[in-house]
Symmetry: C2
Subunit: 216 residues, 2 copies
Amino acid sequence: MVEHMIINTKDFKIFDISMPISYNMPVYKGLEYKRPIISIDGDFSTGSSYETRLEMNLHTGTHLDTPKHMIAEGYTLEELELNRVVTHCRVYDLTDLKDKITDKDLMKLDIKEGDFIVLKTRNSFEEILEKDFIYLDKSGAEYLTKLNIKGVGIDALGIERAQPDHETHINLFNSNIMILEGLRLKDIVEGEYMLSAAPIYIPGAEAAPVRAYLIK
Amino acid sequence: MVEHMIINTKDFKIFDISMPISYNMPVYKGLEYKRPIISIDGDFSTGSSYETRLEMNLHTGTHLDTPKHMIAEGYTLEELELNRVVTHCRVYDLTDLKDKITDKDLMKLDIKEGDFIVLKTRNSFEEILEKDFIYLDKSGAEYLTKLNIKGVGIDALGIERAQPDHETHINLFNSNIMILEGLRLKDIVEGEYMLSAAPIYIPGAEAAPVRAYLIK
């Protein structure tokens, strides 16, 4: 694990890896209640300032999950330490995979204990985000728990689909592995970065939106 | 301006400087429409996951403003470059001030061109946030525009009050100085830090919530 980074704060390169939030953005399974509703609380026709209002499900767009999302007694955002999500990370290119990410796919990578890994798939390029997105299957999640990693990010709106018992989420949560969903990785090259994925702070909530970015 | 920082990604210290978001949090002038509404889209009594929904005015809590907030033709969030808000910064202790921050108060500080400055006041300690908060007055804003700084953060829900023409906002926006509001600085000591204040990404909006933090 890399423990030191020298950051040139004038010239360092920041890569935004977040989804734009709008009513027409891709949402999980295309569900209507997942669509953000953006309205205006005031504009220059009624006053001297412009103010927008946002209503959204907290699993829409780029967001971090906590265990409460799938486990009744799981913890919520106030127990999240920011150094779990502001950390060194490794991006892996898995854009050749067609359906899902399994343990066999992950075994080919040099994932190390304590890593935060970010999985780039063809979700970042193709119109499959709402329905047929590439996901991490339960064998892959189980493999990651054995490696004792810090977190996993993916360019899907859910880290799994087609697994009714949510084994991927539950395996990861039970090992206190962070789950970061809804990343946009089209322009990101495989390699090491600093990740910032600090969710807005809503005590008691099981997820929150994140402006996620990488620094090279 | 410090241009290099060596960051130990294992041991570095992260200071959260964000307000918790809840219905009962302090809001600007105590206005009801500024209160966040948190509800449940689904829980374990109705399904196999727990999902929260949030509705809020985008100027509630810790947030970044863009010029559109006060200037009809001003730019919105899609034009914000993240290196404007992920940057070296200096925190100044102004906790001795009783009412507002003026040009004379700022002249005593060693503010340099290009700095992002964070102003710590007694707002971070006292129950004055909703009404009688310390603010940056127009003389202070004008002084900062002459210094050509990068941005200014403050522990108030608005960077000004009691100025009907919003001269502080408008002066800063006209000089493309970032405005970061709603910080919590009680535990932060005066000095240099790396600031991360990346707002969630809502194209077209004039503000957005931020999970702001400092790294020492």
